[in-house]
């Protein structure tokens, strides 16, 4: 046996636990869900093949599906955009070198990401409690009557966006690392040319952060498509379906309505949407270059 082949064999052996796990726990479920998406299946009785009926129903009949998709898209286009702006702003502030104790503030912004989802959800029920919560109490002090937050179909999603921003410490961390990679010489050159702070941010910082923004954008988008626990605990989709997000509706179909085939079809549509949006992100990011 020559060295190359032996190395290949050894290499494969070394990663074999992962390969086996990948085949059994990722590839098999993936393709079985594709099959189930073409069936009527309640997990108990044998699946019954129905062709593309589940997809047809989702796309042309089920109006809740579009409400759900709309809610999720709102979180991506409004929520993720706001989160990105806020996190970059915070990262730039935290990157200031000449303030003492900056590492303390960096830790402060990261701490919320260590809180488990369930605890976080219950904490935010409190924070955004319309009658006596912290946010509305503070708003009351400056004469603003706070909204109903999770009790209001209009304000429930903005409530979730606030939560999202609060726990975006991971994003801040990535932006901080990317900011550290920007060569100082660029700023120095700009200063010599007479650029002000805003010009530096828009012409040096943001373009140099592009790969980090792309990464955070894609992972953030996928996280929003998958987000489930917060809405499940806080609102269970209400009021008036305002917080019925994609994963929550998928879960309800799968485990509460016994429509596993329908839920599988939803999962595949989700995959296609996420894939398409990722490709668009990549395209846009290239054009920006």
């Amino acid at each position: 046996m020559n060295t190359e082949r032996r190395n290949l064999r050894n290499g494969l052996l070394f990663i074999s636990p992962w390969i086996i796990g990948f085949l059994f726990f990722t590839i098999y479920p993936l393709f079985s869900s594709l099959y189930y998406s073409l069936t009527k299946y309640n997990l108990i009785t044998e699946p019954e093949f129905v062709g593309l009926q589940n997809y047809r129903e989702l796309l042309f009949v089920d109006d809740v599906f579009f409400t759900v998709l709309g809610n999720t898209m709102y979180m991506i286009f409004v929520g993720l955009t706001l989160t990105t702006i806020v996190t970059i702003f915070i990262a730039i502030l935290l990157n200031t070198k000449d303030i003492k104790g900056m590492s303390f503030f960096r830790v402060v912004f990261f701490i919320p990401t260590l809180v488990p989802f369930v605890v976080l959800a219950i904490l935010w029920i409190w924070i955004l409690q319309p009658d006596s919560g912290v946010v509305n109490s503070v708003l009351g002090l400056i004469g603003i009557e706070g909204p109903g937050w999770f009790a209001s179909p209009k304000w429930a999603k903005p409530g979730f966006i606030l939560m999202m921003i609060w726990m975006s410490g991971n994003m801040i961390l990535i932006y901080l690392a990317a900011l550290g990679d920007i060569p100082k010489t660029l700023y120095e050159a700009a200063s010599i040319d007479g650029a002000n702070v805003l010009q530096k941010v828009f012409h040096i910082t943001l373009p140099m952060l592009r790969p980090a923004i792309l990464f955070n954008g894609i992972t953030g988008m996928i996280a929003i498509f998958q987000s489930f626990a917060e809405a499940f605990i806080i609102t269970n989709g209400g009021p008036d379906n305002a917080t019925l997000f994609y994963s929550l509706y998928l879960y309800k179909n799968a485990f509460q309505y016994f429509n596993m085939g329908y839920a599988s079809a939803m999962a595949w549509i989700l995959l296609i949407i996420a894939l398409t949006m990722t490709l668009i992100f990549f395209r846009l990011s290239k054009r920006w270059e």
Binding site: L13, S152, D240
Partner: protein, 453 residues
């Protein structure tokens, strides 16, 4: 040397994978062998019924209810020698969160589950996820004639087999604050009986100053009123016609129900109402709006009397039957029945059913009722019940015995229909949408689900 090293790594990798893949089955086998040896040994001990051994039991409750159930299990284990492997499965025995369904389809279900969501349990039975229990009930000496008529339809499916066994039940009542009644010039001895009287009392009890709500007399969708079926049932609706397999949502009774709710929404602004009442705690916390005086009347289960005793002992309250409109169901409630079920593929169903029936033994049943003011499903009552001359319990019994009380929407899609009606209600109260149109659309959608199942 190198070859041996590579071989060892390979062996390690394979064994880790094998262990990973097979842990489920190995533990299953262990359980199986454990079961069979156990059952033979306790058969010899002459247990309660024909079977014994050990069985797995999922229950949904925490807190005091859990303590009570643990007491019952311990007592049963002592008396029979059967060992119970009890698993806490919130929020309803693992029915609504997929835990039970996954266990059944994975071939590793518990032997017995108790659930506080009878509608979902009924749906599971209709989907074929449960084991028929007639044979085991018969072996344990159970006779259907001993059960109150109101509970029999819940136990059975179309095929004539029995799938659910009720442990006990709860009713919903109107709770009202006596002090506030007197303050508003209402007679606490004459609680509202009709919807008109309820609305008038609510109006008199409400305190709004300018834009600020200080107190609301009544909110239809608070507490038990938030359930999808209660008000519709009281207004006289039948959500489903089992004989013709027809969903019947677009009917006058339901139109009236939601238009009545919309009246409250338009008057006080639904967002304001929800903000005003959305405390952090549920009924078992001092934060409930009835305890804090934010609402003067509310509809809730009989167990709420226990919560009042614990968290708001100074509130002077009384109870009455839920007010109903003309042509609706007088003196009625939807039951909140706790049911036992045996999942398909259970290994020791007889032991499970023996335990389920143990709860109906006189002393256990009496203790249950004395602790929780719950309702027995049996025609014959026991002398050990201590609630005589208790005004709440008198009303509980009165409403429970009413022929107007029942389990609405016994269908395979009860859970989905409940969600549909909930979002329909929100659509009406938040957006003032046309009720009849929404009901027609919901009826068609649900009918399609029924036809497909």
């Amino acid at each position: 040397m190198k070859k041996i090293f590579v071989f060892l790594i390979f062996l390690l990798a394979m064994s880790i994978t094998m262990i990973g893949c097979s842990s489920g089955t190995t533990s299953d086998e262990n359980e199986n062998t454990g079961d069979s040896s156990d059952s033979s040994s306790s058969d010899n001990q002459g247990g309660d019924g024909a079977s014994a051994g050990s069985f797995t039991y999922w229950y949904p409750w925490g807190g005091d209810s859990e303590t009570w159930d643990e007491w019952r299990m311990e007592k049963y284990e002592e008396e029979t020698g059967v060992s119970i492997d009890a698993v806490y499965a919130p929020p309803d025995g693992g029915l609504s969160n997929g835990k039970l369904l996954s266990a059944i389809s994975g071939g590793n279900p518990p032997d017995l589950v108790i659930s506080n969501d009878y509608a979902l349990a009924y749906g599971l039975a209709a989907q074929g996820a449960l084991e028929p229990i007639d044979e085991y009930l018969a072996n344990a000496g159970f006779s259907e004639d001993d059960v109150l008529e109101g509970f029999v339809p819940l136990m059975k499916q179309e095929d004539g087999n029995t799938y659910l066994f009720p442990q006990d039940s709860n009713v919903n009542l109107l709770y009202y604050n006596v002090e506030m009644f007197e303050e508003a010039g209402l007679d606490p001895d004459q609680p509202p009986q009709t919807i008109e009287e309820l609305d008038a009392a609510a109006e008199a009890l409400t305190k709004v100053e300018g834009d600020e709500i200080e107190r609301l007399g009544f909110i239809p969708w608070l507490d038990a009123g938030d359930g999808s079926y209660l008000w519709g049932w009281v207004f006289g609706a039948n959500f489903f016609d089992p004989e013709n397999n027809q969903v019947t949502l677009n009917q006058q009774a339901l139109i009236d129900t939601y238009e009545w709710m919309d009246g409250y929404a338009q008057k006080y602004n639904p967002e304001k109402i929800k903000s005003f009442t959305s405390g952090f705690g549920g009924a078992f916390s001092p934060d409930h709006p009835f305890f804090t005086g934010k609402v003067a009347m509310t509809v809730n289960g009989n167990w709420f009397a226990n919560a009042l005793k614990l968290y708001s002992p100074d509130t002077e309250y009384r109870v009455a039957a839920i007010p109903s409109p003309e042509g609706g169901r007088e003196n009625a409630t939807t039951f909140g029945t706790n049911v036992f079920l045996v999942p398909k593929g259970a290994e020791n169903p007889q032991a499970a059913i023996d335990f389920a029936l143990y709860g109906s033994k006189q002393d256990i049943l009496a203790d249950n009722i004395n602790t929780w003011r719950s309702i027995s499903i049996w025609k014959e009552t026991t002398d050990a019940i201590e609630w005589e001359n208790d005004h709440v319990y008198d009303m509980v019994l009165d409403v429970a015995a009413s022929s107007n009380s029942g389990h609405p929407a016994l269908t395979s899609i009860a859970g989905q229909m409940a969600d549909e009606l909930m979002s329909l209600r929100d659509s009406v109260i938040y957006n003032d949408n046309n009720v009849a149109d929404l009901l027609q659309a919901a009826e068609e959608k649900m009918q399609k689900e029924v036809d497909e199942n």
